[in-house]
Symmetry: C2
Subunit: 192 residues, 2 copies
DNA sequence: TAAAACTATTCTACTAATTGGTAGATAAGA
DNA sequence: TCTTATCTACCAATTAGTAGAATAGTTTTA
């Protein structure tokens, strides 16, 4: 297997485990079994667990923010963009064997058990998302695509908190269907 | 130490650890050191970890829902009640050594690593909170204390997801102050 | 009342499994 | 041949959980 294929397979497996069970329930042994490679080989590519988490977060953040940037720079009206943005979280839920939460949502719960570099990358993900949401709301409000009381920055933080929370909670009951229904409700709130 | 004092001290310590670090980062050894009692003695009171989690969730749910019921049955107007309800989550954040999330928010992230009985109690907490919020929103809307598009049940689920999410996320950055600001923003949303 | 019996609680000392991580041999590619 | 990648085989720490001895605290009984 080409080196990047192995590295990718390891990261994929780790991400899957964390999104479903959390970082503290994920182990090199689990990854080893799922990838079909020995534990020591994983240590060759990612010497420590903290190291693996950092690489994983770097990849995740880059991918996700790239998608958001593409989406937000399209010609859709702002309300449509928000709906699609929330759809990204919905897609996570349906990905693979289902019931995956956002990687950074899971790691947010376990934040104080992470090393400082990984924790910083989680914070970065939150900040970058809220930044992009803030300007989306701002633009949309100016053009009349949104109508809401309060200010865009606070609303952005509210929406992002809501999305991360909903992604975690609907796994307990309701699943994708419930996520869709609260998503629609959120659209109602920002248009009145 | 009287038996209930010991049991209470164990549950207190376990709750503190889970609210800060998560259930999978909490161990009998940690509790042992924090309570000042041997590990085997904890097993005497709570034979298995799953057992301990069940007892802890039973206590937590009962306490929290009792407070909510008292709050919601007061004579305050509904919008005031919602503000106070959100204040309960804010108080969690400031409790003890700070940075505690909701117990069931933390366990929601780790839901698929829990035993079925503990997982059921987490679901119960979610359902009971959403139930109470739904009727609060319903009543408040009828009396004109709230003004929002959409339906009360969906909005209740949205608000609850938001609160659980915010409680997790502000621990990364912003803390209590940020929680207060998104709380105020939420009040704005349900009154327009 | 005092001793004996019983029960409840905590202790020391262990086990087996799992954890992250390492050393060094072996194989595969360039 | 030299580098890259994977392997076997280990280590020390931590995990949940157990066995059984040692205390406390109560009750019962002589």
């Amino acid at each position: 297997m080409a080196i990047n294929d192995t590295k990718t397979a390891i990261l994929d497996s780790a991400q899957d485990l964390i999104q479903r069970l959390g970082a503290n329930a994920m182990s090199y042994d689990h990854i080893s079994k799922s990838v079909g490679i020995r534990k020591a080989s994983i240590h060759y590519h990612f010497p420590t667990k903290e190291n693996l988490l950092e690489s994983l977060l770097e990849r995740y953040n880059e991918n996700f923010l790239k998608i958001v940037d593409d989406l937000f720079s399209s010609s859709d009206p702002e309300d449509k963009k928000l709906l699609k943005y929330m759809g990204l979280f919905e897609a996570t839920l349906q990905d693979g064997d289902h019931d995956k939460a956002c990687l950074c949502g899971m790691l947010g719960a376990e934040l104080f058990t992470l090393g400082p570099a990984a924790a910083d990358r989680v914070r970065y993900f939150y900040n970058e998302n809220e930044k992009r949401l803030t300007s989306l709301l701002d633009n949309g409000k100016k053009k009349g695509n949104f109508k809401f009381k309060g200010n865009s920055k606070k609303l952005a933080a509210l929406i992002f908190s809501f999305l991360e929370g909903a992604l975690l909670l609907v796994r307990a009951e309701g699943g994708v269907k419930k996520f869709q229904s609260v998503k629609e409700q959120m659209m109602d709130l920002v248009k009145s």
